[in-house]
Amino acid sequence: MNGKDGKMRRIWLGSIFSVVLSILFLAFFSGKANAIPAFARKYKTSCVLCHAPFPRLTAMGEAFRLNGYKLPQADEIYVKEQPVSMGAEAYKKVFPEAIWPSTIPGLPPLAVRIIGDANYHPFGHQTDRSEFNFPQEFTILSAGSFGENFAFFADVGFEKEDDSYSTNPKAWLMWQNLFSGLVGEHHFNLKAGNVGRHTIALPDTRNENSFTIEDYLYVTELDFDNEPGFQVDGYGRHWRYGVGVVETDTDNSDKDFYGTVAWKFGGLGYDGSGGKSEAGGVGTTPSGYWRDDSVLFGGFIYRSRVGINADPYDRIGGDARINYKDVSLAAGYIHGSNDQTKENKNIWFGETYYFVFPWMVPYLRYENLSVTNVGNKDQARFIVGSAMLLRANIRANVEARIYTKNEPREAAGGEKKDDDQIAFRLDWAF
């Protein structure tokens, strides 16, 4: 009876917390990622093995991604949809007199993701206060592995911009475990294609790993995106790194360079080793799939020799995340400087989310951007809302974006509240 009462209380508290947070801010005042349901089919497993909630990766999802979309340690025993052989295993002994054997997925690992938004601007000078964007994004995804040491990713997304849809196809191929005899397994992987998606930017607060509707301010204000190039990366139990060279301007032979590194203490290792254990017992309930008690630190550096509008720039930043039971706390800081405009940008933020239930995750983020040498660019805002899994592959978000400082808008003759927004999102994939 007590347990039932407790559960009901949590339901009420969680519901009230999620709804009231949004409504409260109404009184005063969109994200990109990948969830690939083709893997759910391949392993006949739930989305939540790798996502909590999708598209945010769990520790196992992170290990799966780093391992080239294979479950760490013994992928073969979990595959329920057998791949097609491109040569028997014994052909390895015939090499170089034969093509190195591999496999391709049994069925094309295709998945579809659709995002629809409804937005409302409660304050300011907006003339069009509400808008429906269904679909806001439509993406066809594919990813998988070719045998032990090759992995691939590809997506074609259509995103609504005003009244038309733009597309930006992305793809990469990764050769894993190069020189493993010398440097160790997983320590040296080479990726070619649209790289940086999971590497450029802060390791523990990656935009594509967030389930908020609104992108991180550091992503939209500091020009981070996928770019064609090459990346070398690797990982161990507690660490991972990546270095890359990419091209931002096809008319210029100069390239951009970046590097990133991350550490993880506790929880499931990047290589899938370790992980949680619990005693269990009478009257206890098992912890949620999302739990991964751990502390993570990360940093990155990016040097653009080409830059946007021929204005080369540098970016450097670091972040930290603490996962403890049902709560996650994170903070990050990024400094950006542009060579030509002498613009210096400093962005810091803090965020938290809490699993009230496996399907209800309220969140709160504060972001602050201050710019020196160039006026009227400072911003500060709250993002508050809740992600709700209607099913493992259907997510709804209710989110409020509230500016406490918005100099660009005010400088243009508007009010800071012009950009305040209440947003509702439906995101589903299959």
Binding site: T45, P72, K276, T285, P286, Y289
Partner: protein
């Protein structure tokens, strides 16, 4: 000499008659005892398209007598992120071995409302945990790490049960003669029950019809 032979013959004849008289009831009784020990068979079908994918367990609700659990523990494995077997019928009082035969961590717990609510925690490769089931009924098994994993322990009073095949057929052998309630359990279908009479050495045929979804 002749007299002693006559006496000996008479004594032998007398013994034979006595032996015949006393062994007569035994000779008459013998066939009925062996028939009682020779149980009957319940054979039949669960008529539902669901049983092809979700086999039904057909069992006798209650049989007189005590049926101690086996000395060797029944085994439930987690392998390839699947519980094996999917349905594990056991006798009341049995202790089940739960083994993690995967390379990833697993959990086993049963939700509230099950006959034996329990939680074995989260444990890694090669670990074996045990749970004893002292209450009759259904115990759904779940893994908190892998929500798609599902299995059932069905705790029974007696060992007279069978799982249906792809066509819904079942056969329960060596059932002590008597009158019983024959029941079905299926993860997708509502429980069903019907009386059955088992005669020694005979096969009783039953059919479960009109099964409805839970």
């Amino acid at each position: 000499m002749e007299a002693s032979m006559k006496k000996s013959f008479s004594l032998g004849l007398f013994r034979c008659v006595l032996l015949f008289i006393f062994s007569l009831p035994l000779v008459v009784q013998t066939p009925s005892v062996s028939a009682a020990e020779q149980g009957g068979t319940i054979k039949g079908v669960v008529d539902s398209p669901y049983v092809k994918r979700y086999p039904a367990l057909v069992y006798i609700d209650y049989v007189n007598g005590k049926f101690p659990p086996p000395k060797e523990n029944p085994h439930m494995s987690q392998k390839g992120m699947v519980f094996r077997p999917h349905i594990l019928p056991i006798l009341k009082g049995a202790t089940v071995d739960f083994t993690n035969d995967d390379t990833v961590a697993h959990n086993v717990f049963s939700p509230p409302g099950s006959a034996t609510p329990f939680n074995l925690g989260i444990y890694g490769t090669g670990v074996k945990k045990t749970e004893t089931f002292n209450h009759l009924g259904e115990v759904p098994l779940l893994c908190s790490v892998h929500p798609e994993m599902s299995a059932f322990v069905i705790v029974l009073q007696n060992p007279y049960y069978a799982l249906t095949d792809n066509d819904g057929n079942f056969e329960i052998k060596n059932v002590p003669p008597g009158k019983y309630q024959l029941k079905t359990w299926d993860e997708k279908l509502k429980a069903s029950s019907q009386p059955v009479t088992v005669a020694p050495g005979k096969t009783t045929t039953v059919e479960f019809k009109g099964m409805t979804k839970r």
